[in-house]
């Protein structure tokens, strides 16, 4: 999916005329969002198979609340019985919180760009040099969304594994 986004971005930057650049650039935003969304959904399915069908609008809440609750509960139990140290508990909680918050914020930004790209055609992309922007979103930044999402997902999954939940 990211490859499609990159191809669309390159086409948009090639000398294809204002109208084509607008359409191709918008589609690239859309693909970069979906690539990040799918990476996140795949990670959620590894934590709990029934989370694979999490709708777009519920992702931030799932990341900020649902996936943190069982980890907190288990870490409390494991630290109370001295299976792990308090330092280890705090390190794991902080890793989970930081990665899930960063991922939730990334998906909210990306979803916002995707909705503008798909549903607000009257707002065209702006090109400055080799950078295409849509409102406050830059396509060069959007290109990194899937890899960033992947990095955060990996940390989240590792915390779940270390706790013994995944």
């Amino acid at each position: 999916m990211k490859r499609v986004g990159v191809a669309l971005e390159n086409l948009a930057l090639s000398d294809s005329g204002v109208a084509a650049t607008n359409l191709l650039g918008r589609s690239a935003f859309n693909r970069y969002y979906y690539a990040s969304f799918l990476v996140t959904r795949e990670m959620l399915a590894k934590l709990d198979p029934k989370w694979k069908t999490t709708p777009h609008s519920e992702l931030p809440k799932r990341l900020r609340e649902t996936i943190r609750k069982p980890v907190k509960k288990e870490l409390d139990r494991q630290a109370r019985s001295e299976l792990i140290s308090l330092g280890e508990k705090s390190r794991l909680l902080s890793n989970l919180q930081l990665s899930s918050e960063n991922l939730a914020e990334l998906l909210e930004r990306a979803y916002d760009a995707r909705v503008i790209a798909d549903y607000t055609p009257e707002e065209p992309v702006v090109i400055a040099g080799k950078v295409i922007s849509l409102r406050s979103h830059k396509l060069t930044t959007a290109r990194e969304w899937p890899d960033r999402a992947h990095a955060y997902c990996k940390t989240i999954l590792r915390v779940w594994e270390d706790v013994g939940l995944a």
């Binding site: 198979p49 029934k50 019985s81 792990i84 960063n102 930004r109 990095a151 594994e161 270390d162």
Partner: protein, 249 residues
Amino acid sequence: MLDLLKKENISEFPSELARIFASDLQIRSTDGSILLYIPKDKVAETGGKGFVSSRQIKNVSAKLEDKYGVLVHVIYLKSRKVESLESGLLQMLNQRFNGSVDQLYMSVSDSFEVNSWISVSNLTEPLKCEIYKVYSHLLSESSMKLKDVHWNDSEASLPSLPSILKATKNLQPATLQSVTRTLMEDYSDVSDVWLNKQFDKLIKKGFVIREHSFKSYSLTAAGLSLIPNAFNRNGSDITRALALGKRKW
């Protein structure tokens, strides 16, 4: 067709919402919700002195939701300063380490503590230490403190004690070698010697017993009670049942 609220109907924007540093406000065309755009570098654990706290943002959002009867979503805008730093530091590290650093992402707190996600091709322990040292030094030159690095390409080399308990539950009564073999599938640095030491710790804590006559390890009731047991395929009862199914008696 949705009867959408209009941006100009939101009397709190821009003056009142400037208190929470909302740089823009939009109405989402698909569901009519209010979008508040707030630069991430203005958000701190506690508000005041040029910052706003997440709690303050939540309170203002709740008030707007009550007044206008629509959902309010906050879009945190990534700091341009952090974006520039990320790309500058990535270039500097690549200059020093012959282009082996593929990705570098930063999360900077209001107290200038930095958490990072770094991806490196052909990462080895010595290279990891060297990159950490140089990166930490570069940050300290910019008055920032490196808190933690998440290495994206490296698999965790050693499992946690809860992971060892889970693997032992699946195989019990389990020999040292069988647990080592299983753990090595996911953790490359596990060895019999290392695992034996971990079992000693678990025995001392009362979570595992060693049966000398069979040279095997089993979990005590206390050990069993500490293993999470989710009601899905990751649940330890399910993974134990699957492992028993595979076992050759």
